[in-house]
């Protein structure tokens, strides 16, 4: 009844000129707030752009500066070089009499440690996510999720020191590694930091699978396990893939753990039990010892730019993958 009265009253009110009180102009601070929000957003974008600009600016002398080019070039960094008459090889020895700046041992080291970390953490995180999202009773779920996510809050230096002092000996005894600090040890410690990341994203993706799918599958006489494996997990694949790629980006960029636990010898080989040096650990350890503007300094920025390119490309690739799956599923 009251709605009808109001509807009828509106034209009367407008005639009486009282409509103005309903169509008040938005107050001045609205405009100010909008401007502020926009400025904040632009600031975030500007920060990213400026990081790019800064790194490139410091790395560019590798192409143009004659003093730097006398010692090193992009070609020399990527291709094998024949030092002191020996056979052509990849070598990172920036402090030797003839500085050698080959990127390969570092790129390979970064990839080695990162892939080991992913191989360990992805299955654990995904299985844990499947269990938490679709199998565990609600009470267990309510405890499990925050606890795993709490793992992300452990400072990486703590993990690194644990790996250095305790886990290194265990792993060496277990697998008989040649070097006590090695790629596997660093990868194991790294995986602890990535598990919660992949877990959280995968768990969200699995939880977001419509309940209708589960009901439809169960109603066809499929078992719970069949439903999880054939309907729920496949529907969550884009989210799970995104989690793995983000984990890759986090792992390849992680510094503290690899500085402490990887052994830091710039060896280029496929042996997992050997000491390994990564891009991030190299930048962290050598930046403090270089002269501003020196060839070594510039090379470290080239390393940074390379790392940035890696994460940039993988993120782009991840978006492509997710997009591809979305299209395949026909959803929006």
């Amino acid at each position: 009844m009251s709605t009808v009265t109001q509807l009828e009253a509106t034209p009367v009110a407008r005639k009486a000129g009282r409509a103005a009180s309903f169509r008040r102009k938005s107050p001045a601070w609205h405009g100010l707030a909008e401007w502020g929000i926009r400025a904040t957003a632009l600031l975030a974008i500007a920060a990213i752009v400026l990081i790019f600009v800064f790194i490139l600016k410091e790395a560019l002398p590798i192409l143009f500066d004659t003093h730097v080019r006398g010692e090193v070039s992009l070609m020399k960094m990527w291709l094998p070089q024949a030092w002191d008459g020996g056979p052509a090889r990849f070598s990172w020895q920036p402090a030797s009499e003839v500085p050698k700046y080959s990127l390969m041992p570092l790129v390979a080291g970064s990839l080695k440690v990162t892939l080991i970390a992913l191989v360990i953490s992805a299955p654990i995180a995904i299985l844990a996510a499947v269990y938490t999202a679709s199998i565990a009773p609600r009470r267990v779920r309510e405890v499990l999720k925050p606890v795993v996510e709490l793992l992300a809050g452990v400072p990486s230096v703590v993990l690194g020191v644990f790996a250095l002092i305790v886990a290194g000996t265990w792993l060496q005894k277990l697998f008989g590694f040649e070097h006590r600090l090695n790629a596997v040890l660093a990868g194991c410690a790294l995986s602890v930091t990535i598990v919660p990341l992949i877990f959280t994203i995968a768990e969200d993706a699995i939880t977001a699978v419509p309940r209708d799918y589960v009901d439809a599958s169960l109603a066809l006489g499929a078992t719970k396990m069949h439903t999880i494996l054939r309907v729920v997990v496949p529907a969550a694949v884009p989210g799970i893939a995104a989690g793995i790629v983000l984990g890759f980006g986090r792992a390849i960029g992680e510094t503290m753990i690899v500085v402490i636990a990887s052994g830091n010898a710039a060896l280029l080989d496929a042996t997992l039990g050997h000491s390994t040096r990564t891009i991030t650990a190299t930048i962290a350890q050598e930046m403090g010892e270089t002269v501003h503007g020196s060839p070594h300094y510039v090379v470290l920025f080239v390393l940074g730019a390379t790392l940035l390119a890696f994460t940039f490309v993988t993120n782009l690739g991840a978006q492509r993958i997710v997009e591809h799956f979305r299209k395949k599923r026909g959803g929006t």
């Binding site: 799918y213 439809a216 109603a219 066809l220 006489g221």
Partner: protein, 272 residues
């Protein structure tokens, strides 16, 4: 024949027999003085005959969907749901705790309100139930998928794009895909929960035609909000109200000379 079903409670030959069925749902956060459970169905006695279409009508929340979900134990998936009473399928008690629920759902299929195509190819959608039951032989699968799609009147529309994603189908096609998927495992009973509520009138008409054809081969229980639909597709109609079965009889009787005043009020549009 319809005329032979004058005794409304029992169908021609009992497929499903429901006796004294009570269903309770747990109330999540009961207020003071409120019981911890909500009774969704109260002492329902109802039989479903072989090869008949039984329509369940009633206002929202009357318990008709709950009743439907008891018949293939989909209520098991609702946390805190409790079922008491007896439901027999061909004389076998299906509410027994150790009863093979997976096998039951194979015999009693279900089609939901919203058509749910899995994000898989049309072929894989229809083959889903078969594969879930362990059928993997390729030619057998192909044959059965074709049969199911034909029975669901979808074969001609999709035979050239069986590899296309099921999500690309229109609403009406998707619902017939769901029916094909249910038919592929050759159920004896098909439960339909407002199967046309998300469809346009033309797709609805097609589906109703299909229901009439399917009746020759299996037993159908359909929940519907549309009185006209109940009139068009069913031989018998049951009217639920507030968790109780108010009246059941041949569709003609229920619509033309209902025994209960509440049925008459609902049918004539006085509430609901």
């Amino acid at each position: 024949m319809i005329e032979d079903l004058s005794n409304g409670t029992t169908g021609p030959r009992g497929k499903l027999a429901v006796r004294g069925l009570d269903v309770f749902y747990r109330v999540e956060k009961p207020k003071k003085g409120q019981p911890g459970e909500n009774q969704a169905l109260k002492a329902v006695d109802l039989d479903v005959g072989v090869n008949e279409v039984l329509a369940l009508i009633g206002p929202s929340g009357c318990g008709k969907s709950t009743f439907l979900r008891v018949l293939n134990r989909m209520n098991d998936t609702v946390p805190g749901a409790r079922v008491a009473g007896s439901v027999t399928l061909d004389g076998e008690e299906i509410l027994a705790p150790k009863y093979d629920v997976v096998g039951l759902r194979r015999r009693v299929g279900m089609v939901f309100q919203r058509p749910v195509a899995f994000p898989k190819s049309i072929f894989d959608n229809v083959a889903y139930g078969l594969r879930a039951h362990g059928l993997s032989e390729k030619r057998e699968l192909e044959w059965r998928v074709q049969q199911a799609l034909t029975r669901a009147a979808l074969w001609d529309e999709v035979k050239d794009r069986l590899d296309a994603n099921g999500l690309g189908l229109s609403g009406g096609q998707a619902q017939r895909l769901c029916i094909a998927r249910a038919l592929a495992v050759e159920p004896e009973v098909l439960l339909m929960d407002e199967p046309t509520s998300a469809l346009d009138p033309i797709a609805t008409a097609k589906l109703e035609e299909l229901i009439a054809e399917l009746r020759e081969e299996l037993t159908i229980v359909i929940v519907t909000h549309s009185m006209q639909q109940a009139g068009r597709v069913s031989q018998r109609t049951a009217f639920f109200y507030m968790g109780s079965l108010v009246e059941v009889g041949t569709t003609r009787d229920v619509f033309t000379r209902p025994r209960e005043p509440r049925t008459e009020d609902y049918i004539s549009g006085r509430f609901g």
